[in-house]
């Protein structure tokens, strides 16, 4: 029995390492639930694959069912992985209090056992929670801690992503020059440790920053560069992010007619990505576009969708910010 199970798990692990997440999910969906629950390794591989496929609700459901067997198994390693996955699934669903609870538990356990990698992941997850809650100082603290961990582990990708997250946080905080510096560092680390797709994000974010800093010309060119790079990539999330930024910049710089094409392209790509945050962001820009076009009813539809999507992931601060933005455009 052990041998059979081991070879199954080993085969799935190989597929997982090769990033064949859909294949892993397809195979494990056919497995009898009682067998699945009997081996936490199978549950953890399935849940991680579901998260990579942006299916957080299903991932959370499976993790929830496996909670008791994993907790009673006395395997701390499994429990920490479970906590990290559960934390991320909860973040994706906007259940931020629960996510913070489970990730804090994970971080404490990892620190006690000196499990650096887990400390890095948990710090990053808690940073995302803090950031979504608008607790910028706490987010900066956690991402700074994560950078120290990734550096010690020699994980250049981790360092790059923590700088990227710091860039987002500083931007939210209004410290735009700090944000530019962190996005530049993210680009630098991603250039040697990340995928081509990952390099597009900080470029797009820098474009938005230049817009905020008043350098519209540079903002549009950078956004165009991000779009050109994203068009060569198969990832719809990245295409949506780049097109959204270019559309938003064009809207502010040249008006609705110049922006519509890019924001509609962003909406199509966002739909394919199945990521609620990017969908919410694109809906927000579409709402503003329609307001500027004088089409209030359509704007309202997009506004409602955006708020619902932000709400679904618990990004209440984003809802508040967007409502203020929407109101100010409505009045003007």
């Amino acid at each position: 029995m052990i041998e059979g199970l081991t070879s199954t798990v080993a085969a799935l692990q190989t597929l997982f390492r090769a990033r064949e997440y859909q294949e892993v999910v397809d195979r494990l969906r056919e497995v009898d639930p009682s067998i699945l629950m009997a081996d936490p390794e199978l549950v953890l591989i399935l849940a991680a694959s579901l998260q990579y496929l942006f299916l957080p609700v299903e991932a959370a459901e499976i993790l929830r069912r496996a909670e008791i067997p994993i907790r009673v198994s006395n395997n701390r390693s499994h429990l920490r992985r479970w906590q990290n996955l559960m934390g991320n699934a909860l973040i994706e669903q906007g259940r931020l209090d629960e996510a913070r609870e489970v990730l804090s538990e994970c971080l404490a356990s990892a620190e006690e056992a000196n499990r650096m990698r887990v400390i890095g992941y948990a710090s990053n997850g808690l940073g995302v929670v803090a950031s979504l809650r608008g607790e910028v100082e706490e987010a900066v603290r956690l991402y700074t801690r994560a950078i120290a961990v990734w550096q010690q582990l020699g994980d250049g990708w981790g360092v790059g992503s923590a700088h990227y997250n710091l860039g987002l946080t500083f931007r939210e905080w209004g410290r735009l020059n700090d944000a530019v510096a962190h996005f530049a560092l993210a680009e630098e680390y991603y250039s040697t440790n990340g995928t081509p797709a990952e390099r597009v994000y900080p470029t797009a974010e820098r474009a938005m920053l230049y817009m905020d800093l008043g350098d519209e010309e540079m903002a549009e060119r950078l956004a165009m560069a991000a779009v050109e790079r994203s068009e060569e990539l198969p990832n719809p999330l990245i295409r949506a992010a780049a097109a959204k930024v270019l559309g938003a910049i064009r809207l502010r710089r040249r008006g609705p007619a110049a922006a519509r094409q890019w924001l509609e392209a962003a909406a199509v790509a966002a739909e394919h990505s199945a990521n609620p945050l990017i969908k919410a962001e694109v809906e927000e820009e579409l709402a503003i576009l329609e307001l500027h076009s004088g089409r209030r009813q359509r704007a309202e539809v997009h506004r409602a969708r955006s708020c619902e999507l932000y709400g679904s992931i618990g990004a209440n601060r984003h809802v508040q910010r967007f409502e203020e933005r929407y109101a100010s455009v409505s009045i003007s």
């Binding site: 080993a10 198994s73 100082e137 603290r141 700074t144 120290a148 550096q151 582990l153 994980d155």
Partner: protein, 444 residues
């Protein structure tokens, strides 16, 4: 080279499982019959003693391993008698897994051991990459002021414990220099930990730097090491040290003097062995005079002061650095515009209040906006500061101030050659000396 786990097989039980577990974890399995054989295999991530059915015979193996200072071994058996397990652990085993119930735990042990080895190797490669990334050649320029700073830095590097204070305006490359000191120094295999003192409020910064014990304050549910401890063996970079609160200044002074830290809520000190590099754009002597920065801390930090000059004080360095960024962005955006004389003149005329960071942005901007050429009007956004008359010379200024600044800048551009500088300015050497001396007096 893959991570290796050695198995000393006292019994053949579960023998088919080991290769599968090793392959699951991504490790290579080496089978040995004796401790001597296991040692010659040079297991990188651990030793496992397979003892199904012969658990009482493993004590000898554990003793041998211990005396040979081999990596900690774990024992896998079938017996769950707690007395036997306790005896095995007492004999020096790191853990005991009873099969088949502990199969999952054993698998996790494999995975964690392999991860540690691969992480260690990755960290070594990363440190080598960082050494290259933050090599001193990244600090480009031939100006005497920069070279003075770099020479001083080179003298500091072998002194692994010397505290370094880097001063300079925003954008002059203080962080880059701090990293270069770490990654090119004797502590490069240790961690480089960075914290900007302006990003956290005082109480959070204190907890982050010093760490805390469980119960030290309401949210402190479990103990946490502070950044001083995290950076142990490496370098802690305290950016914007000039913004530190006076109460934290006193605590930092104690750390610098005693090389010990105490977590919040703890009664014990922990010794630390690290280099502290601090940086600031604030004029610290002035802050000391005004009472916002402790004099004793300033003297303690100022063991090795390094001042990074502003770009406008570095003469032709602006062109050398611009060429570096032009090469980089030309590759990135797949164009190859030349640095024309017109662009050179514009770069030299600008006063660069944002220093190297601003120059980097200017070159990227011109590369992106130009159609394969660089245009002067693309270098800066419309209302950018730093144009003629908005730089370090207060404008309007008295003629003598302008003349003194021009003399200093020309001397930099002529790499210290006073005759050439005087000739370029169209004045006598004596007049040049007078202007430079007046500026020195002003600086003092």
């Amino acid at each position: 080279m893959s991570a290796r786990i050695a198995i000393i097989r006292a019994s053949d039980s579960f023998s088919d499982v080991w290769p599968q577990l090793a392959s699951f974890a991504g490790a290579k399995l080496e089978v040995a019959a004796t401790v001597g054989e296991a040692r010659s295999l040079q297991a990188t991530c651990g030793v496992l003693i397979a003892a199904g059915g012969v658990e009482d015979t493993v004590h000898e193996v554990l003793r041998e391993l211990r005396s040979a200072r081999a990596p900690e071994a774990v024992v896998v058996g079938a017996d769950t008698n707690y007395r036997l397990v306790a005896a095995i652990l007492q004999a020096g085993a790191g853990d005991y897994f009873a099969m088949p119930a502990d199969y999952g735990l054993c698998r996790s042990w494999f995975v964690e051991r392999v991860e540690r080895v691969t992480d260690r190797r990755k960290a070594e490669r990363f440190a080598a990459d960082e050494r290259q990334r933050f090599d001193f050649s990244r600090l480009i320029g031939n100006s005497t002021r920069l070279q003075t700073a770099l020479r001083r830095t080179a003298r500091v590097i072998p002194k692994g414990n010397a505290t370094v204070l880097i001063t300079g305006e925003t954008g002059t490359g203080k962080e880059l220099l701090a990293r270069a000191i770490h990654y090119n120094g004797v502590r490069s295999s240790g961690p480089f930990v960075e914290i900007n003192c302006t990003t956290l409020p005082e109480n959070l910064l204190e907890a982050e730097l010093f760490g805390y014990e469980a119960g030290a304050f309401t949210d402190a549910r479990s103990p946490k090491p502070g950044l001083f401890e995290v950076a142990n063996g490496g370098t802690l970079f305290l950016d914007e040290i000039g913004e530190l609160s006076t109460s934290l200044q006193a605590k930092l002074l104690r750390v610098l003097e005693e090389r010990r830290v105490r977590r919040l809520g703890s009664i014990r000190d922990t010794e630390i062995d690290l280099r502290i590099v601090a940086a600031t754009h604030v004029n610290l002597p002035e802050a000391v005079r005004q009472g916002s920065f402790r004099q004793d801390l300033y003297y303690r930090l100022n063991t090795v002061p390094i001042h990074l000059p502003a770009l406008r004080e570095r003469g032709d360095d602006v062109i050398v650095i611009a060429q570096h960024f032009l090469k980089r962005f030309s590759e990135e955006y797949e164009v190859s515009p030349p640095l024309t004389p017109e662009i050179r003149r514009a770069l030299l005329a600008h006063t660069w209040p944002g220093n190297v960071r601003e120059l980097r942005n200017a070159i990227e901007r011109a590369v992106l906006l130009g159609d394969g050429r660089l245009y002067v009007e693309d270098l800066f956004p419309e209302d950018a500061p730093g144009g003629v008359g908005s730089g370090p010379i207060p404008f309007p200024a008295r003629m003598e101030v302008i003349q003194q600044a021009a003399a200093s800048a020309m001397l930099e551009r002529c790499r210290g050659n006073k005759s050439e500088a005087a000739k370029m300015l169209g004045i006598s050497r004596k007049h040049l000396y007078t202007l430079l001396a007046a500026q020195e007096v002003k600086r003092d």
